[in-house]
Each structure stands twice: as structure tokens, then as C-alpha cells.
């Protein structure tokens, strides 16, 4: 393959956020040769944005907690569409994954007796999130990075994978370009772990960076894997809304965990007005009880601000649409009020929520210890993703694994806050372990030179138009606007049909994307190449959302506002048809193991 550098690995990991790094560490520990490819510099992945913490039933703060409660909380949060095996493994293994981080250098906040401190979060019955102030994701990624670099893995920073390479039915590696000079690289690998994160760049208001264009989802889809439950996109209830240019930046759920309350323009604490039946017996019905809960009173029930993210986001959306929103089109999130309750409130807020204090001070000129924040929903996370085996994380394509956000299963219809960081560690480890085993048990693969040449030509096409054609940024912006308005937080049949037409139209235009410049560090070119994946996942999300004619978890339909018992037993599955068309199937949820059902029943009574 002339002009293309070739590298060989047993395990190739695509993505270097929490899941990718954890997978790479595990595979390296297994003694196989590991390569990591990441779109940005090492340590910059979206994991750094995770603030609140990682959920693990360590029972350091409340001894009533255990894996069974965590399992039941996760299933209930996911409205029982979860892969129950993953929910089980996650609840059982998260404590060990958190604890080993300490041996690698993580320094979590402590309990008075010196153990790892845990905080309250939405949908978690007991204080369960190990954390470092409100910068837990940074702690996690830095710990994995600093541990991983000593294990002998090769890291290819600022490289983007354009296509997976196949050897028959089996994955055989990947084709990538480097940002610096636009050189092409072929990676031959016996096993590939996708850990590319999310799809946030399909929407205008998002907490995600430029990287989150659904690469892993699309690569797997084109390689023949199934994308499951793509309609479930989590809109985090609290993103910044002002200044306009920073709209979407995350405001941690930890603010509410520390006692922050949501109010509308009339000063009403509207979350008390709508508490779902499933949670009624565990939710406070007055402000005083909610505050006592936040302060650790074990007899008190949780404040309604700590209901699951899907519900809180919809309540906020309702207030804004009803004209009771804040000045800049959000609602108020007030942590400053706790000064009525705590003598040292200002210092307490700065210590518990330092990044939030900093973020609002620097970006909005607001002192959160004195004034309320303005917040509104922001595209945050996709529950759907590559369908994988719960134990091994392997997809239906032999040798192709997926972990973290780009995989599906653990979170069902809605993810609980704090379950993402633990997901990355638990299933990153499993993917790394099983990918290494797969590489050991299977022979060498060969790369198809013709396929490589095809991808190479396709990758160069935008530049060969010499700037005569469409502006790739404009196409991206139009797609984001359309997904935001047509396939956003509340959805309707007609709008989604329009979105499908819009996507088809934008796909035609994307074929003519023509960035100026050359191959060297050219973001216009990269944006043009990313469009292909963005359009694929936007279509997958829209088709899945159209097919689910009910409202459940993060998926809300204006035309089908109720839950359907029948659809509660169905997972949506997207795969590529023989002629490249997108096929949608409805798969019955696998019947749950009896002992796990018994845990769910027992916890519902509790």
C-alpha cells in the first residue's frame, strides 16, 4: 500500500477517554501489543467534562447500600429496557474498579474515617458517587493516562479513524489520518475496541466537543454491527443558557446533590408539582424534608430536583414553553439559598463545587454563592449504541468490541448520573480483557489493499474539489439546527419525517463539501469527513425515534405521551441492509433472569 504507513497490533483501541484508556490498560496487562488511536491529544477526551462522580455501591456513607440496590436503581432509571446482564455486572464490579483507581494515583474526597466519600445523585437511592469536588472526570482520565503510559502501549494522538478494515466477516483493523500532516495510516489488528463516545455534535445545544460525531457508532454500523436503542438521547437538564455562546456547557447535577433547587420565573419550586408514581414514595413532598435529605438525614426522602434526568429535563422544558422561564430562556438553579441553612454556605459551595463557581464567574460573570444560575436542557449523552454481549463487550462482528458511551445496553431508556464513569471503567476493563483474549485465540488477519485504496480515495475527495462546492461547516450547522428543532427533547411524527427528508438532502450536499486548503491540520477537511458519520447517526436516531410510538425515559413523543406496555418489551435495532439502506427492526427484550427480577421486585417494596 504505497504512501500508507502500516502498524500492527493485537488490540487496537479507538478512543482515549475513560473506556478506551481502561480497555488499553487491561489489554496491555494481558501481555498483548496494544495501539491507541485518539482524535485529540491524550487526556483531553470528553471524560474530563464529567463532574459529579462515579457510582459504585461501596456503602462508605450509607451501609444499607449494596450492588442489589444499585442494580435495581439502574434498571428502574432505564425503564427496564437495559441489558440486565450489564446492569448486574456494572453494579457488582464498580466498587472494585473505583478502588483500584486509588492504587493508580486517584485522590478522591474522603469520609471522616478516611474512606472514599460518596455523594447523592439523581435516581440513586443512597449516596453512591465517589468524587473529587466537581472534577471527577478529570481525575479519572488523568489517573488512567498517567498509569497507562507506563504499560508500553503505543498512542497515536490526533488521529481520526475513517473506516474499519475487514478480513471477510472479521474486523482486521482501521484506516486513519493524522491531523498534523494528513498522512494516512493503516492499522492491522486482530481485535478492535471502539471507545469513541457520543453523538452530541448532531445537535446545536450540546455539552459535547467537536469530536463527538458518532464515529464508533457509524464505523460499527458500516462494518455490519447492530445499533440498539438510538432514540434514547439524554438531554441533561442543566446546561448553561447564557451567555448564548456558551449555551450547552454542563452544570453538574452535583449542584442539586448539594441542595440546589430549581425555580421558575415566578419563584415557584416547580419540581414539587410533578412527581412520577414510580418515585412518589421515595420523594420528599416539602422543602424542609428535601434539605434534610441533602444533609444526610437518613429518615428523609430525596428532594424532587434529584429525580431522574429525563424527568427533570422535561419539567424544565415545560416551564420554559409555558412562558415561566428565566430571562434568557432557561429556569433558575439556586444553590445560594442554602445560606439560610448553613452559616458558612459561601465557603461550602466553593469547596464542594469549585469548577461551577469558576465556570460561572469566568463565563457569565455570576457569583453562584450569591445569585441563581440560569439553566436549561443540553444534549449530553446517548444511551443507544453498538449492541454488544454483556460479558465480553463484543459486537455481532467478530473481533469488534465496543465500550462506554458508544456501546449500548447498560442504561436502557435513560442513564442515571454517575453511572457513566463507572460504565467506562467496568466495561472498558471487560472489553480490553476480552479483546486481548480474542487476539490470542485467533490467527492473524490480512488487510485488503483494494479496500484501503477505496477509503484513501474517498478521504481525499473533499480536498480535490479545491474549495469549489459546499461549506462543510454550514452543512454541519444546518444539520444541528434541524436535529435540535425536529428530533429534540419532545418529538412529533411529522417533524421527524421532515428531518429524514432533511437528512437525505444534506447528504446530497455533503457529497459536494469542498473545504479549501491542503492536508495539513485542516479543520475544514476534518469537518467535511465527519459529516458522513454525523448524518448516519442522525438518521439512526430519527428512524429509531419515529418507530417508538410511546414516551419512555429520555424519549418523549408529543403524539404518544404515554408509555406503551407492549413497547416496554422492545429494543429498537438499526443495521445496514445489503444495498447500504438503513434497516430498522424491533427486537424483544431478552427475558430477565429470575433472581434479578426478584431483586427488582424486592427493591420496589423497600
Amino acid at each position: 500500500m504505497p504512501g500508507i504507513e502500516t502498524y500492527e497490533y493485537d488490540v487496537l483501541v479507538v478512543g482515549a477517554g475513560g473506556a478506551g484508556l481502561r480497555a488499553a490498560i487491561e489489554a496491555s496487562n494481558a501481555g498483548v501489543k496494544v495501539g491507541v488511536v485518539c482524535k485529540s491529544l491524550l487526556g483531553k477526551a470528553h471524560t474530563v467534562m464529567a463532574e459529579g462522580g462515579m457510582a459504585a455501591a461501596m456503602a462508605n456513607v450509607d451501609e444499607r447500600d449494596n450492588w442489589r440496590v444499585h442494580f435495581a436503581d439502574t434498571m428502574r432509571g432505564g425503564q427496564y429496557l437495559n441489558n440486565w446482564r450489564m446492569a448486574e455486572l456494572h453494579a457488582k464490579e464498580a466498587p472494585s474498579r473505583v478502588k483500584e483507581m486509588e492504587a493508580w494515583g486517584a485522590l478522591f474526597d474522603r469520609t471522616p474515617d478516611g474512606r472514599i466519600l460518596q455523594r447523592n445523585f439523581g435516581g440513586h437511592r443512597y449516596p453512591r458517587l465517589a468524587h473529587v469536588g466537581d472534577r471527577t472526570g478529570l481525575e479519572l482520565i488523568r489517573t488512567l493516562q498517567d498509569h497507562g503510559i507506563h504499560l508500553g502501549m503505543d498512542v497515536h494522538m490526533e488521529h481520526t479513524v475513517v473506516e474499519l478494515l475487514m478480513d471477510g466477516e472479521r474486523v482486521a483493523g482501521a484506516f486513519a489520518y493524522d491531523r498534523e500532516l494528513g498522512r494516512f495510516k493503516a492499522f492491522r489488528a486482530k481485535a478492535v475496541v471502539l471507545a469513541t463516545g457520543g453523538i452530541g455534535r448532531s445537535f446545536r445545544v450540546t455539552s459535547n466537543s467537536w469530536e463527538y460525531t458518532g464515529d464508533g457508532h457509524s464505523l460499527a454500523y458500516r462494518a455490519g454491527a447492530v445499533l440498539k436503542d438510538m432514540e434514547f438521547v439524554q438531554f441533561h437538564p442543566t446546561g448553561m443558557v447564557w451567555p448564548h455562546s456558551v449555551a450547552g456547557i454542563l452544570v453538574t447535577e452535583g449542584v442539586r446533590g448539594e441542595g440546589g433547587i430549581l425555580k421558575n420565573a415566578e419563584g415557584r419550586r416547580f419540581m414539587f408539582d410533578d412527581i412520577p408514581d414510580l418515585y412518589k414514595h421515595q420523594t420528599a413532598d416539602n422543602a424542609d424534608e428535601g434539605w434534610r435529605y441533602v444533609r444526610g438525614d437518613r429518615q428523609a426522602r430525596r428532594p424532587p430536583e434529584l429525580l431522574t434526568r429525563d424527568h427533570v429535563a422535561r419539567c424544565i422544558n415545560r416551564e420554559i414553553k409555558a412562558g415561566r422561564g428565566s430571562e434568557h430562556g432557561g429556569v433558575y438553579l439556586d444553590i445560594a439559598w442554602i445560606k439560610e441553612k448553613l452559616p458558612n454556605a459561601e465557603e461550602h459551595i466553593k469547596r464542594k463545587l469549585p469548577s461551577m463557581y469558576h465556570q460561572f464567574e469566568k463565563l457569565a460573570g455570576i457569583d453562584i454563592t450569591k445569585e441563581p444560575m440560569e439553566v436549561g436542557p443540553t444534549t449530553h449523552y446517548v444511551m443507544g449504541g453498538v449492541e454488544v454481549d454483556g460479558d465480553s463487550q463484543m459486537s455481532s462482528v467478530p473481533g469488534l468490541f465496543a465500550a462506554g458511551e458508544c456501546a449500548s445496553g447498560l442504561h436502557g431508556a435513560n442513564r442515571l448520573g454517575g453511572n457513566s464513569l463507572s460504565d467506562l471503567l467496568v466495561f472498558g476493563k471487560r472489553a480490553g480483557e476480552h479483546a486481548a483474549a480474542f487476539a490470542r485465540e485467533h490467527g492473524a488477519v490480512s488487510l485488503d489493499a483494494d479496500a484501503v485504496a477505496r477509503v484513501e480515495r474517498m478521504t481525499l475527495e473533499p480536498l480535490e474539489r479545491n474549495g469549489k462546492g459546499e461549506n462543510p461547516y454550514a452543512i454541519q450547522h444546518e444539520l444541528q439546527e434541524m436535529m435540535q428543532s425536529h428530533v429534540g427533547i419532545v418529538r412529533h411524527h411529522g417533524e421527524m419525517e421532515d428531518a429524514l427528508e432533511g437528512i437525505a438532502h444534506l447528504r446530497e450536499r455533503a457529497i459536494h463539501a469542498a473545504p479549501p486548503g491542503n492536508r495539513e491540520y485542516n479543520p475544514g477537511w476534518h469537518t467535511a469527513l465527519d459529516l458522513r458519520n454525523l448524518l448516519t447517526i442522525s438518521e439512526a436516531i430519527t428512524r429509531s425515534a419515529l418507530s417508538r410510538e410511546e414516551s419512555r425515559g429520555a424519549h418523549a413523543r408529543e403524539d404518544f405521551p404515554e408509555k406503551s406496555a407492549e413497547l416496554g418489551k422492545i429494543n429498537t435495532a438499526i443495521r445496514r441492509g445489503p444495498d447500504g439502506e438503513m434497516l430498522l427492526e424491533k427486537h424483544a427484550v431478552k427475558p430477565i433472569r429470575e433472581d434479578l427480577q426478584a431483586i427488582i421486585d424486592e427493591q420496589q417494596q423497600a
Binding site: 467534562m49 478516611g114 485542516n522
Partner: protein
């Protein structure tokens, strides 16, 4: 919408120049927003790094009107827009293109630092006990987002190019957090003196001034490390009495 003129460095290692881009911006915008606007409308191939746009990933470091800053945390309202706003790449690292520099050297330096070596677990379940007050010292340095602005501004690197002998403030605080981790039993003091060139730092505190995370780099990390080296290698009493 108010307007401003941006003067942005365009070019690569072989040469380049500041180019002017007149533009509009909205109230509340940060410099990175304006860079993106110029990129989308006027200069699609303008190279710049960014990720989180919230001051947490440390990707968008640049020199704005000569001052090392994160573009995502510099508000337009804090700049004098009656004059052109100049945006240049960090000067201490080799230029790749436009606002992007080659920062790989930093990754190599980190690789050379001994990693954490934890003591035996305190409890039978393999866990440790640490007090909040003890972890807080190291937690301050673990706030670092690796933007490398401290490296950019450090004269040992910027003016004297001692990249081969001096780890720079970023990695001195990295060593400090390892040394101050209550679990750690490794000894990095000889390396600090020889390999990492701690003696080159003459405490001008420029690094502390530019740190977007407001880490007290010099006082809380570098000076305590210098004390450890002095105690070990330059204690006059030890020298006299062969201690």
C-alpha cells in the same frame, strides 16, 4: 452586534504572518467563539485546537494580545476591541500550523517521571485510609488541565530552551502531587535534582500567574520540592558531619 478585528497568526514552520479578519460578535462570546466564527465564515482551514470549551480540557491555549490564555475562558468583554485582538500560538513549542503547536515534548517528559508506588493497603479489603486534609495538598495540583501555559511562559523553556534538562512547571507540580500523595513510597528527589532540573527554576512565579486553574505552582509545589532537594543534597550540617 459589536465588531472587532482579529489578527490571527497564519502559517507553519516555514513561515507565516498575522492576518486580519474583521468580524462581528455577540455579547457574552469568548475568543474561541470568535475564532470558530471566523473559521466557519472566512477561513475554513484555520487550525486551532479545542475540545470542552469550558476550561476543563486545556486544549485551546494561545497568546491573546501577548498574554498566555485559554481562548475558551477569555471573554470578549474583557478585551479592548478598539484595537485589533491579536491571537498567536504558544511560542515555547514548535509550530505546526496557525494556532497549533507541537506539544509532544510534554508527553515525553511525563513518561520519564516515576509513577505512583502505593504503600501496602491499610485494610484487609485492599483499600487505604486517608484524611481529607492530607489529600487536599495533592488535590490542588491534580486540578491541572495540562494546557501547558505555564510551560509556555517559563523563561527557562521560552528564552533558554532548556527542554532537555528541565521538566518545567507542569511536571514539577505533577511530581509534587506524586510526592504528596499519602500512599506514595517512591523516591523522586535525586531525579528532581538531576534529571528534571529543578535548580533551573528561580522562582519568578510567571507560571503561577498564568495558570487558568489558579494553582499556586511556585509556592505550594516548587518551593517544597526545592526544600526536599536541599535537605537531601545540600544540608550544610550533613556536609560538615558527614550525616
Amino acid at each position: 452586534m459589536p465588531d472587532a478585528t482579529f489578527r490571527i497568526w497564519r502559517g507553519d514552520a516555514s513561515g507565516g504572518a498575522l492576518q486580519e479578519y474583521p468580524t462581528f460578535y455577540e455579547n457574552g462570546m469568548v475568543v474561541l467563539d470568535v475564532i470558530h466564527k471566523i473559521q466557519a465564515e472566512q477561513a475554513q482551514d484555520l487550525a486551532c485546537r479545542w475540545n470542552c470549551k469550558a476550561g476543563k480540557c486545556g486544549s485551546c491555549s494561545a497568546e491573546i494580545n501577548g498574554k498566555p490564555k485559554l481562548m475558551c475562558m477569555t471573554r470578549m468583554s474583557d478585551l479592548d476591541v478598539s484595537q485589533p485582538v491579536t491571537v498567536q500560538p504558544m511560542q515555547t513549542f514548535p509550530l505546526l500550523r496557525d494556532l497549533v503547536t507541537n506539544v509532544e515534548w510534554n508527553y515525553r517528559v511525563k513518561q520519564e517521571i516515576k509513577k505512583l508506588e502505593p504503600r501496602k493497603p491499610d485494610a484487609p479489603d485492599g483499600t487505604w485510609r486517608m484524611q481529607q486534609a492530607d489529600v487536599e495538598r495533592a488535590q490542588e495540583f491534580r486540578k491541572c488541565i495540562e494546557c501547558y501555559l505555564c510551560q509556555d511562559v517559563c523563561h527557562v523553556l521560552r528564552e533558554h530552551h532548556k527542554h532537555n534538562e528541565f521538566a518545567g512547571p507542569r511536571f514539577l507540580i505533577h511530581i509534587a502531587q506524586l510526592e504528596m500523595n499519602p500512599l506514595d513510597v517512591a523516591d523522586r528527589v535525586p531525579d528532581l535534582k538531576d534529571r528534571h532540573g529543578l535548580g533551573y527554576c528561580n522562582i519568578t512565579k510567571c507560571c503561577t500567574k498564568v495558570c487558568p486553574e489558579e494553582i499556586t505552582i511556585t509556592d505550594n509545589a516548587i518551593i517544597p520540592l526545592k526544600e526536599r532537594v536541599v535537605d537531601r543534597f545540600y544540608d550544610p550540617l550533613k556536609k560538615l558531619f558527614g550525616g
